[in-house]
């Protein structure tokens, strides 16, 4: 029945993006625009003793300088993930309310001037004298004061997960693997730096924001400023990548609004690349330890997964690392724990594959070690242990892991692999292959999602939901969903998003976007279709008069009897006869309850072939294969792209990406794209992606489980396992820098 859904159609926003016509936040033109620049703290802890703005105020074009001395007092921010649908500040601390400095990069002043260059220059003239206090910015510095967290993610998740008797089972295990891993911090580095343009009009605020959730920006700014939601409107048409950095609402958004109110003109605040390292969260420095106990024939009997990471002074934030290790494999005795060190960084945040990009690396590296130890094929070890139910004994809403593993193995040519490390060479390069299972939780803690569909009497339709396009292809996929729901050709449907005045949906985070938005759009579109079908069967002048609506379908804008396609009429004919210039229907979707009796994971399988130069220590990925079971795929073309991107994020995570604090200064070592290395074109091998199609009737009406994170999960493990296969060397630190890999 579906014709548009599942088709690999080109992106509807393609022409705008390839011609430069697509406008991103910093490109909005408003009359009398002004430009803001942030002055960021250079110390990691202490207070602002003196802030001398004299020289800056004297610089040409300066309109205002705001510091903690004159910034209005705001409501207290309380961190909550934006998917939850409430105010979602990225941290429970707003800068410039007092003289305190909690982390380097914290805003201490905001300069507004009449040009970008003048604002930046004046910001450099603000002279800040700090009273510096001792700081902790690395795990090592705070290790002795580490504590066990009670809850994570703004209180949404427990920090401990336990079943059975781990200690006894571990002691009695026939085989044990017990390994520790270390991870440098990661930064999202979306190529569009965060930007906000704010303008006030008669007490009402409009914000153009580079965000993964316009609704979250609206809720957060309204809460901090104590304004009614109806007076805060957020608009976002195109966002230049998010990857989690724009999932929460960071202080610069509200600062832009305050500055605009202060100068009485629109204010554009664009953060610099350097500032992006300290302004929108990061994946925290962490250590993980995973002990596995198993029988000789490769059955898991005990697992103990611990994470230690560093958070901010004000939030118990850790990426939850055990959401997959606790349930992917059947294991009667399990304990997962999170310990934290309070440090002088901003609150870390969601970074692509939050939690599991790292947690599954640990799990799947340990599984590879176990397979090697037992002499069992790594793939077979996964299949043998894959759980039929989740940690609570609930069946999966849909599975597909084994199919992914088997299909991936076939595409990759896994069969017949010689498992002996260091058994293949190509000139200076050792060649190895590795694999990993992948899984990612399906979150369902969003509120009710809404959309609206409107059909005009000429047969064209506009379908709306307040989401935003940051590369996921949501505009395209929702056009497809709406077209199928209405029974219209794709070309007759326009999907509109990017404005909080539209029906609201939650932030597109945690791979939840496609599932929840499609649910609302589908509901609106089908409601409108049903409304018009009802009109037709009730209309004595309709050829469908008196028909049972259940026997009617709509295709290409024509309403017909399913069994008798010749009997029917178009939407246009029906509407014009009934004096309907247009027709409209809202649609909404409320997710299943949090205690829905189903295991909720998206599954996949990752395979990689690497070449390692063992003398120099360099690792190059030669090919990668990923097979995923993300439920229904709305658009295989854009979904494939997102999965390829995720897999290459995994490559970056494995081999290149890491940042470290200089504990003496409490500042990041890397603050540019020249220092923080993300993959370039030459690092990216050809990547094969395929799908295992399955039906999921639990997660949402269309059975969409999402593709945003699962592509990345497991890749680093597959690469690390391939490095082991190539060299015999097990690297237990990411990124796998040359000095760790070289013989």
């Amino acid at each position: 029945m579906s014709s548009a859904i599942g088709s690999p159609i080109d992106r509807v926003d393609g022409p705008q993006k390839v011609t430069g016509a697509a406008r991103y936040t910093a490109e909005i033109v408003l009359p009398h625009m002004t430009y803001a620049a942030v002055v960021a703290a250079t110390v990691a802890s202490g207070r602002v003793a003196v802030i001398d703005t004299g020289r800056a105020r004297g610089a040409e074009g300066v309109l205002a300088i705001l510091t903690h001395e004159d910034l209005p007092k705001l409501a207290e921010p309380h961190l909550l993930p934006s998917l939850a649908g409430a105010a979602a500040p990225g941290q429970s601390f707003f800068p410039m309310q007092k003289d305190v400095v909690h982390y380097a990069g914290q805003p201490v002043a905001l300069v507004v001037a009449d040009s970008h260059e003048r604002a930046q220059y004046a910001a450099s003239l603000v002279e800040v004298t700090y009273e510096r206090a001792p700081s902790i910015t690395t795990i090592d510095e705070g290790r002795d004061a580490a504590y066990e967290a009670e809850r994570l993610f703004g209180g949404l998740l427990p920090a401990r997960d336990e079943r059975g008797d781990v200690d006894t089972a571990m002691a009695e295990a026939e085989v044990r693997v017990d390994v520790a891993y270390r991870f440098a911090a990661n930064h999202h580095n979306a190529i569009e730096p965060a930007a906000t343009t704010a303008v006030w009009d008669d007490g009402r605020l409009t914000i153009y924001d580079s965000t993964q959730g316009i609704r979250a920006s609206q809720l957060t700014v309204a809460q901090l400023l104590g304004m009614p939601l109806s007076d805060v409107r957020v608009i976002t048409h195109f966002v230049g990548g998010g990857f989690g950095s724009k999932a929460m609402v960071w202080p610069h958004v509200t600062l832009a609004a305050l500055a605009a109110r202060h100068v009485g003109r629109p204010v554009k605040l664009s953060l610099t690349r350097q500032q992006m390292f300290t302004s929108a969260g990061h994946r925290e420095e962490q250590e993980q330890q995973l002990a596995i106990g198993a029988t000789r024939d490769g059955r898991l009997t005990a697992m103990h997964h611990e994470k230690l990471s560093i958070t901010s002074p004000f939030d118990d934030w850790a990426e939850p690392a055990t959401g997959v290790s606790s349930q992917l494999y059947a294991c009667p005795n399990y304990r997962g724990e999170h310990r934290l060190v309070r440090g002088n960084t901003m609150t870390p945040t969601f970074t692509r594959g939050p939690g599991e990009a790292v947690g599954v690396f640990v799990l799947e590296t340990a599984m590879d070690e176990l397979a090697h130890e037992l002499g069992i094929d790594p793939l077979e070890l996964r299949v043998r242990n894959h759980a039929a139910v989740d940690g609570h004994g609930n069946p999966w809403s849909s599975d597909g892991l084994e199919e992914c593993l088997r299909h991936g193995a076939e595409l990759f040519g896994w069969a017949g692999r010689n498992p002996v490390p260091r058994s293949r060479r190509d000139g200076d390069w050792l060649i190895g292959t590795g694999m990993a299972a992948a899984a990612y939780p399906v979150p369902l803690f969003m509120p009710t999602q809404r959309a609206r569909a409107r059909l005009y009497a000429d047969g064209s339709a506009v379908v709306q939901a307040g989401t935003q396009e940051f590369g996921t292809g949501v505009l395209t996929a929702m056009t497809q969903v709406a077209a199928d729901g209405l029974g219209l050709p794709l070309g007759s449907v326009r999907f509109e998003a990017g404005d909080t005045d539209l029906p609201n949906v939650s932030s597109a985070v945690g791979s939840a976007g496609a599932g929840m938005i499609s649910a609302a759009v589908h509901a609106a579109a089908t409601a409108l279709r049903d409304q018009l079908v009802a009109t037709a069967v009730a209309d004595a002048d309709s050829p469908l008069h008196g028909a049972d609506p259940a026997t009617i379908e709509v295709r290409e804008g024509r309403i017909t009897q399913r069994e008798y396609p010749g009997v029917g009429e178009t939407y246009g004919e029906l509407m014009q006869r009934n004096r309907l210039a247009d027709a409209e229907a809202p649609g909404s979707w409320t997710p299943p309850p949090l205690d829905t009796p189903h295991g909720l994971l998206t599954f996949g399988a990752q395979f990689a072939e690497v070449a390692v130069d063992p003398e120099i220590g360099l690792v190059r990925a030669r090919r990668m294969v990923g097979v995923f079971a993300p439920g229904r795929v709305l658009n295989p073309k854009t979904a494939r792209s997102q999965l390829v991107g995720g897999m290459l994020w995994g490559l970056g995570q494995a081999l290149l990406e890491g940042n470290r604090m200089d504990p003496r200064h409490g500042r990041w070592g890397a603050t540019s794209l020249g220092e923080y290395l993300v993959p370039v074109n030459a690092d990216a091998p050809e990547v094969t992606v395929d799908f295992v199609e399955l039906t999921d009737t639990v997660v949402n009406p269309l059975g969409v489980k999402g593709v945003g994170e699962i592509g990345q999960v497991g890749v680093a493990a597959a690469i690390g396992n391939a490095v082991f296969h190539a060299t015999g060397r097990r690297v237990r630190e990411l990124p796998m820098a040359a000095e760790l890999v070289m013989d």
């Binding site: 430069g20 730096p193 195109f238 792209s641 030459a682």
Partner: protein
């Protein structure tokens, strides 16, 4: 003839001159000797075949001149320090980084941006190939990628995938559409329609 082809010959024939988008009578000499600044001065920039006279401080980069003064926002600011390639434009037909170019140094030169690539409504073959191959996601690096890709075919160093990958490595795509970007370039190369002059 597309705008970029017009601009290739524009400064040889007496360009049309606009001052803040108004026509003015005469063209300035190509690159007059001058000392100026730090306050703003009129700078004549020939972009996509049209010459615009804009008041710019000497410190203003070509990228900011395009984005903030000429409202040509297709060229993107990703790092402002030469490490991402999102601002790639052509100056006198060669791909360069607009963020590390001062606008005033571009007087008398021909600047081509993504807005000048299509021939009216007709997309450049590389633009079409980027759509067909899904060679972008968020789209923020895309203008730079396409300006690099078209230049690459013109440079003639796109014989192998390895060459393409190396030559495109100055354009970071954080969505990591790299394999699809290579596919798009291959497609245009193999159709023999690449390069600056493809749609002329």
């Amino acid at each position: 003839m597309p705008a970029w082809a017009v601009q290739l010959i524009a400064h040889h024939v007496r360009p049309k001159i606009m001052h803040n988008d108004q026509f003015v009578a005469t063209a300035p000499p190509d690159r007059p000797p001058l000392t100026s600044g730090p306050s703003s001065l009129p700078v004549a920039l020939t972009v996509n075949g049209s010459t615009h006279v804009v008041d710019l401080e000497p410190r203003v980069s070509l990228l900011d001149a395009l984005r903030e003064h000429l409202d040509l926002t297709g060229s993107k600011k990703g790092c402002d320090q030469g490490t991402c390639g999102a601002c790639t434009v052509w100056v006198d037909g060669r791909r360069v980084l607009a963020c590390l170019s001062l606008a005033v140094t571009c007087e008398g030169r021909s600047v081509t941006t993504i807005e000048g690539l299509a021939a009216g409504e007709e997309l450049h073959p590389m633009q079409r190939a980027f759509i067909e191959c899904d060679a972008f996601q968020c789209g923020y690096c895309t203008a730079g990628q396409i300006m690099s890709a078209v230049a690459l075919l013109e440079e003639g160093n796109a014989t192998t995938d390895a060459e393409i990958a190396e030559s495109m490595s100055g354009n970071i795509c954080r969505c990591a559409a790299y394999p699809n970007i290579r596919a798009a370039i291959r497609e245009v190369r193999d159709a023999g329609e690449g390069g600056h002059r493809a749609t002329a």
